[in-house]
Amino acid sequence: MSRRLKISIFRHNPRDPRSVPRLVDYELDERPGMTLFIALNAIRDTQAPDLNFDFVCRAGVCGACAMVIDGRPGLACRTLTSTLPAAFSLYPLPVFRLVADLSVDTGSWMRELAERLQTWVHLDAEPDLDRLEARMEPALAEAVYELDRCIECGCCIAACATAQMREGFVGAVGLVKIARFRLDSADTRDDADFYELVGNDEGIFGCMSLLACNDLCPKELPLQTQLAWLRRKMAGQGVRWLRRG
């Protein structure tokens, strides 16, 4: 027997002066293999043409569709309704600016982060294109790739107690990016440079290691190990910093 789903969706359009935040219930029949992508589009096509949400790739790689699903941040396109109870709620991610309904502006937040943490490979000189590629050990390349898989979905931020309390906290997404460029042999920055960027309470020392981020990252990035590693390195760097006076 297929279930009848009751989805309670947060509705609010902050741009519209008449709009008040509210939960609206929508019902539909569950189908085999139904993801939240399919369910939300069905609701928009037949019941709520003005419902706002974001999907681009529908395959878990673009990071556009994160929302709070039955209480936990996750990617809507990769969530099967069969893994949820028959009645559940959908909320937009907290921390980020609400655009409307389930849509939030993770983009501006991520751009600001990218500028602040300078998340690009810092080279000594412009690449010389007549030369061959810079060699890199396959194991190192794999490690860099592993951290480069972050899709900037914002789930780790939505799950993080520090991020909710302290505006400006770079969160797991920011720290994992620092870890990524720190690993990269092409990046010329050293630990002192990285310390400048995240050796503070808005960076690694603000993290309380409760690891909600690690449990919820939809790409299963090794956040726990990376945060611990970075903390050790940055603490060491801080000591050197003090000694140098």
Partner: protein, 597 residues
């Protein structure tokens, strides 16, 4: 309505791979540039590309750009322009190495070079054996590439207008392009972006088909805008159906899976590609594999209760290889097909994937139209790159991994051309005509005032069904004729779309109605161009143009070795010659031959 004006040196529409690569060129040269995009740059559809980017680095097997050029010309079924193809294949190593310096985390070989894998249609020594030419970051190459390009743009301080939808192209009485009108999606306000140069990098329009690997944002906005503004569309009858979309879900499974040893099997468990392409087998060109699969299914050898798909088998690969080289694929198979490919094969069907045609350009990224007897006369101020453009390097059929290469090479080339034209003082800020925004405002007023109209959803669905049935993997003369009439009717209905919600802020229904206008142009162009081309070539295969001694594979070079040009106004067709001459003397023209794998 009050229309704000903003002035820039250049405006780029689209922030996927091609848009970001072009933007980088402009930002680093110090041009004041606006990049308009419907979604945040790193969400763009380039992110979904899995397999890799082609470059004849020769890291894993011997290789050179001559072989790559030969494969691309042959893959295009000789409809690609050989000057543009030479340019692209020669530039490939440069743009890939550049990207590697920007931090793109490519897989590496044991000696630290970029790892390369085999891919469909790519061969060594002019078709003799598969070559390893595809540079990949596991099976998330597009994601890694898009992020590397974005990071570099943040460094260059590129200015993005995120969640802005371009509406119409602005041309003056001379036909020169002066920018675009665009709507801020959050407020519904319309602005004019007035610029010396306009670059379209808006991607494809795969959403004209019912079953598509394309994201919902791929609504052919640039192609539709160009068509409405009187620019002809080139070779729109050629669409690539990717052999391996997950049955039912449409999500893509990269060819890299077959590159790593994956095998296609029918209901009898037979490796049927051995019959269709004895040399390259499962790694034959995409159109060949898609048609072989469709033939198997049509002849009753499909799998599953409805015999409507075939199976992609990698159960014979070591679990380690799958985990390391194809982790994303395993994730997708588990999620969307409910099978773990380590243990069971994945159900797949050919699914619409890529638009070979588009806005006609030359290898410099300039948009070109017939004018005063010159079939390729540049339109002042107008450039295009990536899937929305037709350079034409893919001709009648694109090879896998040549799309990421296309957007890098021609994104960069369009950017370089703009920078040169700007620095030489050739680009001028021409005065805006008084009616610059009128077309867009009239479209919006029509939509708001419509009564007794059509639902956007219904018209869109009818369009997708019509395209799927009448202009799919195989084409039939009678279905195409009917299709032309049907799509004409759908286009008429699209002129009367109505939306219930008329609010200005975040009005999703309005955006979908505006996107439908663009899709409809693409659908009309496709159907009319396909009906008219009475031969089989590349991805366009007709029942009434079979393989004969006179016309091998049904290809009729005597009459049809030419590019289609479709004009929206009057649904009119024109043709222009294919450039069979390479750009330089470094290489001889690749002579016409029958295409076999």
């Amino acid at each position: 309505m009050n229309v704000a004006k903003r002035t820039f040196d250049a405006v780029i529409v689209g922030a996927g791979g091609a848009g970001l690569r072009a933007a980088l060129q402009l930002s680093e040269a110090g041009l004041k540039t606006a990049v308009l995009t419907k979604v945040f740059p790193t969400r763009s559809h380039t992110v979904a590309a899995q397999g890799g980017v082609a470059a004849s680095l020769g890291n894993s097997t011997e290789d050179n750009w001559h072989w790559h050029m030969y494969d691309t010309v042959k893959g295009s079924d000789w409809l690609g322009d050989q000057d543009a193809i030479e340019f692209m294949c020669k530039k490939a190593n440069e743009v890939v190495i550049e990207l590697e310096h920007y931090g793109m985390p490519f897989d590496r070989t044991d000696n630290g070079k970029i790892y390369q894998r085999p891919f469909g249609g790519h061969s060594m020594n002019y078709g003799q054996a598969p070559v390893m030419r595809s540079c990949a970051a596991a099976d998330r190459t597009g994601h890694a590439m898009l992020h590397a390009l974005y990071q570099r743009n943040v460094r260059a301080n590129t200015q993005f207008f995120v969640e802005w939808m371009a509406l119409d192209l602005i041309r003056d009485a001379d036909g020169d392009v002066l920018g675009v009108t665009a709507m801020e999606m959050e407020t519904g306000e319309v602005s004019i972006f007035h610029a010396k140069a306009t670059i379209f990098a808006t991607g494809g329009a795969g959403r004209i088909y019912y079953s598509s690997t394309n994201a919902f944002i791929n609504t052919g906005d640039g192609v539709g805008m160009a068509a409405r503004a009187g620019i002809p569309l080139e070779d729109m009858e050629f669409w690539q159906f990717h052999p391996t979309g997950v049955a039912g879900a449409g999500v893509l499974i990269t060819e890299g899976v077959r590159g790593e040893g994956g095998i296609l099997r029918n209901a009898q468990g037979e490796r049927f590609m051995e019959r269709y392409a004895p040399n390259l087998k499962d790694l034959a060109s995409r159109d060949v594999v898609s048609r072989a699969m469709t033939t198997e299914i049509n002849e009753g050898r499909g799998c599953g209760p409805d015999k409507d798909h075939v199976l992609l088998d990698i159960t014979h690969l070591a679990p380690d290889t799958i985990m390391k080289r194809l982790p994303g694929i395993r994730e997708i198979a588990i999620q969307f097909a409910g099978v773990d490919p380590i243990k069971a094969p994945i159900p797949v069907v050919p699914t619409c994937h890529y638009q070979m045609g588009g806005i006609p350009t030359n290898y410099k990224g300039q948009v070109v139209v017939p004018k005063d007897g010159n079939p390729n006369s540049p339109v002042a101020g107008f450039y295009a790159a990536g899937e929305c453009a037709c350079a034409s390097v893919h001709g009648a059929n694109r090879l896998g991994t040549n799309s990421l290469l296309d957007l890098l090479v021609f994104g960069k080339s369009a950017g370089e051309t703009v920078v040169e034209d700007f620095q030489s003082g050739q680009l001028k800020l021409k005065p805006l005509p008084a009616d610059a925004a009128d077309v867009s405002l009239a479209r919006l007023a029509r939509l708001d005032g419509q009564t007794n109209g059509e639902s956007v959803f219904d018209v869109g669905l009818e369009m997708r069904r019509t395209m799927q049935k009448h202009a799919g993997v195989f084409r039939f003369d009678n279905l195409l004729k009917e299709g032309v009439q049907k799509i004409g009717e759908v286009a008429e209905r699209a002129k009367r779309t109505q939306i219930a919600d008329k609010s200005k802020v975040w009005n999703v229904a309005r955006m979908e109605a505006l996107e439908l206008d663009n899709l409809i142009e693409v659908a009309r162009a496709t159907m009319v161009s396909a009906e008219a081309r009475k031969e089989s070539r590349g991805a366009h295969v007709r029942d009434d143009a079979p393989d004969t001694a006179e016309n091998p594979n049904g290809r009729d070079d005597a009459n049809w070795l030419k590019h289609t040009l479709w004009y929206s106004e009057g649904n009119r067709l024109d043709y222009k010659p294919v450039n069979l001459k390479p750009l330089s003397d470094d290489v001889e023209p690749i002579a016409l031959a029958k295409r076999t794998y």
